[in-house]
Symmetry: C2
Subunit: 137 residues, 2 copies
DNA sequence: ATTGTACCAGTACAAATGTACTGGTAGCAA
DNA sequence: TTGCTACCAGTACATTTGTACTGGTACAAT
């Protein structure tokens, strides 16, 4: 069940749907960021296409169709990012990480957040290593 | 001079071109990752389109056309990542950073690299702050 | 009963995209 | 000089994408 890729436009709607699933066309329509408005009917079309592509399902609840996402936001994100990585960075992620935190100005808050993340990961790593050792893998 | 967006396919070629510019069609063709082969003529078409869109220029050097990228890889990357960020993460980058280092298994080496990066940034930040203070901005 | 109002399914359609064939030519091998 | 190669410009074309109109209908307000 290899889902077909999503176009740029579909992606926006897919993400919105994930975050609010289940939702009506109108709900999605209204949650559009106002910097890129879109016709109600256009949203409709995108949702229909998402369903066709297997990313969503829907039921007709007395006159109103309710769409539900069939995939987690995380999996859509993963898929999309994977594509990006393979297209631009030969599949490895560190170059992108670097790009994100080097080529763009980072705020102190973000830096702080990042630091915590790293510490946390390091901690986790240590634990994993230990338990591995314990199990004498 | 707002360059038009690049499609997924164009992006691959654009990146390849950036990395080797100037290059002939054949060179690009041969540097294609073998997991997604493509006809020579298709590469030709992509390059032509890149030129039309303003991302590349070319000259005919005695029977062979030589393409050069007109933009830095970094700016193409930036543009593409920006798009992704706005589409999937409301424009902020930390969620993507998080995704990259949390949702995907990270190796010790990568973690180490990340740690260094963070330290380096912290250092830089401190310096900046100081000089700002010195200048009594 | 009449008229809006919402929403739906279907259809439309130009532009962008992915992918490639073709006919022509210049240079080199035979 | 005759092919065979490489390469080029141009053209082709089915799909996908972006974007939206339409005609029909059910429910609500008049």
């Amino acid at each position: 069940m290899e889902l077909p890729g999503l176009s740029k436009g579909e992606l926006v709607i897919a993400k919105l749907l994930c975050d609010r699933s289940p939702a009506t066309v109108r709900e999605i329509f209204e949650s559009l960021p106002e910097d890129q408005p879109m016709d109600f009917a256009t949203v409709q079309t995108y949702l229909r296409r998402l369903e066709t592509k297997g990313y969503a399902s829907s039921i007709l609840e007395s006159k109103t169709r309710i769409y539900s996402s069939k995939s987690q936001a995380s999996s859509i994100v993963k898929r999309t990012v994977d594509e990006l990585l393979s297209r631009l960075f030969g599949g490895s992620k560190m170059p992108l990480v670097r790009h994100l935190i080097e080529e763009r100005s980072i705020t102190s808050d973000e830096l702080q957040e990042l630091k915590e993340l790293v510490d946390q990961l390091a901690e986790q790593k240590k634990t994993t290593a230990k338990s591995k050792q314990a199990r004498k893998k």
